[in-house]
Amino acid sequence: MTVIHPNMTDEGAKIRARDVCVYYGDKKAIDEVSIDISPNYVTAFIGPSGCGKSTFLRCFNRMNDTIGTAKVTGLIELDGEDIHGNRMDVVQLRARVGMVFQKPNPFPKSIYENIAYGPKIHGLAEKKADLDVVVERSLTRAGLWDEVKDRLDDSGTALSGGQQQRLCIARAIAVDPEVILMDEPASALDPIATAKIEELIDELSGRYAIVIVTHSMQQAARVSQRTAFFHLGKMVEYGPTSEIFTNPIEERTKDYITGRYG
């Protein structure tokens, strides 16, 4: 049974998940998870490796659809709209719910084209001048503009790892999403690049609902206001980050955050 801390009920829910299960073939990876994601906060999913936190994150933009053997059941709503419903177009859903992956994955195109990719395919900006504006705004919000403004035509893959990840964040921002999902966005980066990403997450929160998966508890504590602890495919405890880390209710949560396992 999930323990949900009180006094989070009046926040409203950007994403509402009810009794979500994910199966890979016969294996149940996520077992009846229900959660409300607040629009105003950064929500962190923590838990030991293999607990299903990344799998659950990928439900929100239906990236599990791309895995042939994966099956998702239960209800997930974005602003009250069923994301598996007939009226929901997965392409539109992914434009509204952006994603940043564990390993930076810029396209092998120029920096400019990397950012312009989303606006182009969604028809958000047709003219070059409009695209220029979107590219500059996205890179500025991702804190990368000053570093790359003189070499927008260079390949995105030529940037450093940390810059590549901020490029990927800028790319996600460029289509003006409502939610940004981040799957261990700093785990492949060095401490300085990690600090920059965390700073960036801080700046972006409020404008976007952010859900971040991390296996670094310090990172969860630093960047998030809400934390959900996952274990063996179940959500064990969900509450304000400060309470989860200082005053957890469940024994397993306590064991994990004090480093007894995981």
Partner: protein, 461 residues
């Protein structure tokens, strides 16, 4: 005594050496003074065996080249040889007959003059066989003894065997390289001879091809050796028509297989497609000549093109295109599969559809590999012989009409080098010049393609 016998003897002695080496190594490990050996007994065994066999092999190879010369010399030195004609065809025939009888390969002589040489040949063979046998055994024993005496508990037989294995593998790979270099050298040599008779300018830029094999080598008409119609025919059939067929079909099947096909479907279709590459080209030739070419001619006549030929470039090109689909598709398949899955996920997560992802991300990322695949396919197509020999024409026309007969470089090479020809006639030599040009072009295409593939691989590793 044939080289085979000598090698069998060497292998037998090698086995003895092997057993002896192992026995000695075992003796290090047992008894009162037992100690750890640096190598397992089997390596000691192999070390001795290799020292027996390899020197013998070297000797046998050298001996099988030298011995016949020694035999011949001793026969010629015999008194019976004085009756032979000084040189010429008859002399060679007599010697050959006598040798065959002496070796037991022929029942008797045809020319009586050869009769007298049989005895000296028998003597010489007997003598040199004995020498060969004795030397073989001596070398084997010497090698084996030397190796056997070197065995010590701390002897590094293992590394020595390892090094020998490496040398053998190196030799094996050298064979292929040396053969290629030999082919290249012979091509260059004959090509230079040809260019001594017909200037390279006439050959490379002349527009009329029709070597006259009957003309006297002294009165060559260089204007009949203009290879441009052949180069054009080769490019038109192999690099234009075939590619118009192969590139779209190959790429689309690769995209289907890597991006859309169910894994179960893929395990069926991919081998089937690659089977196309294994069909003997002569079978494609049948199909082109007997099925497709008449169909194309009939279709052309039906729409009012009466000049259409049954030996059209179109038929040969289309069938060749089908033949090289697997080359294009398997390279495209590999390079699209080599694009990291993260790239695809990144695009899908941006809300791109599957076909947008393929078109805008996967395809551009895989492009270098795809281009390299196409270049390899072109080099394969322009070097292809059988289909064009059967379906295209021997007549070298310089035209852009695909319904006209057209000839290729390979067709002309086949035509010039089959049947009776004189080895120093320019018409024959021109085949080497054509081969040389073809060789250089395919070499360049392969070289560029491999460079591109290498850089592409580096980009993702």
């Amino acid at each position: 005594m044939s080289p085979i016998t000598l090698i069998l003897i060497a292998l037998g002695l090698g086995l003895v050496g092997w057993l002896a080496g192992r026995a000695k190594a075992w003796s290090f490990q047992s008894g009162a003074a037992a100690q750890r050996t640096a190598s397992r007994p089997v390596y000691h065994a192999w070390y001795v065996a290799l020292w027996v066999v390899i020197p013998v092999l070297v000797f046998v190879i050298a001996w099988s080249i030298i011995a016949p010369q020694l035999v011949l010399q001793s026969v010629l030195a015999s008194p019976a040889a004085e009756a032979l004609p000084a040189f010429g065809f008859e002399r060679d025939a007599f010697i050959g007959e006598a040798r065959a009888v002496a070796l037991g390969q022929a029942p008797g002589v045809f020319n009586d003059e050869a009769e007298a040489l049989i005895g000296p040949f028998r003597d010489a063979f007997g003598r040199y066989n004995t020498i060969g046998l004795i030397v073989t055994v001596l070398i084997a024993l010497a090698g084996g003894a030397l190796a056997f005496l070197r065995l010590r508990p701390q002897f590094g037989a293992r590394t020595k065997v390892e090094r020998t294995v490496m040398m053998i593998l190196l030799l094996a790979s050298l064979v292929a390289i040396l053969t290629t270099m030999g082919i290249f050298a012979s091509l260059v040599f004959e090509t230079v001879r040809f260019f001594g008779m017909v200037s390279p300018i006439d050959f490379l830029f002349g527009t009329k091809w029709g070597p006259d094999t009957m003309a006297s080598p002294d009165a060559i008409d260089p204007s009949r050796y203009g290879a441009v119609p052949l180069f054009w025919g080769t490019i038109f059939i192999g690099a234009i028509i075939a590619m118009i067929v192969a590139i779209p079909l190959g790429l689309m099947s690769a995209i289907y297989l890597t991006q859309y096909a169910d894994p179960r479907v893929r395990t069926w279709i991919k081998p089937l497609l690659e089977l196309l590459a294994g069909v003997p080209t002569v079978v494609y030739g049948y199909f082109a000549a007997l099925t497709l070419a008449p169909m194309i001619r009939d279709a052309a006549v039906a729409i009012g093109i009466t000049s259409a030929s049954t030996e059209s470039a179109l038929a040969a090109g289309i069938v060749m295109g089908v033949m090289i689909i697997p080359f294009v598709s398997s390279m495209a398949d590999d390079s699209m599969a080599a694009v990291p899955g993260a790239m695809r996920d990144g695009s899908l997560a941006m809300g791109a559809t599957k076909s947008e992802t393929i078109r805008r991300v996967l395809f551009p990322a895989a492009l270098p590999g795809i281009v390299a695949g196409i270049m390899l396919a072109v080099s394969r197509a322009i070097g292809e012989t059988m289909i064009v020999v059967m379906a295209a024409s021997p007549a070298a026309n310089l035209t852009a009409n695909p319904l006209e007969p057209m000839s290729t470089v390979t067709v002309q090479i086949v035509k010039l080098l089959t049947g009776e020809q004189s080895t120093d006639h320019p018409a024959t030599l021109s085949a080497y010049a054509l081969g040389f040009v073809l060789f250089m072009v395919t070499l360049a295409l392969n070289f560029i393609a491999l460079r591109v593939v290498k850089r592409f691989r580096e980009a993702y590793e």
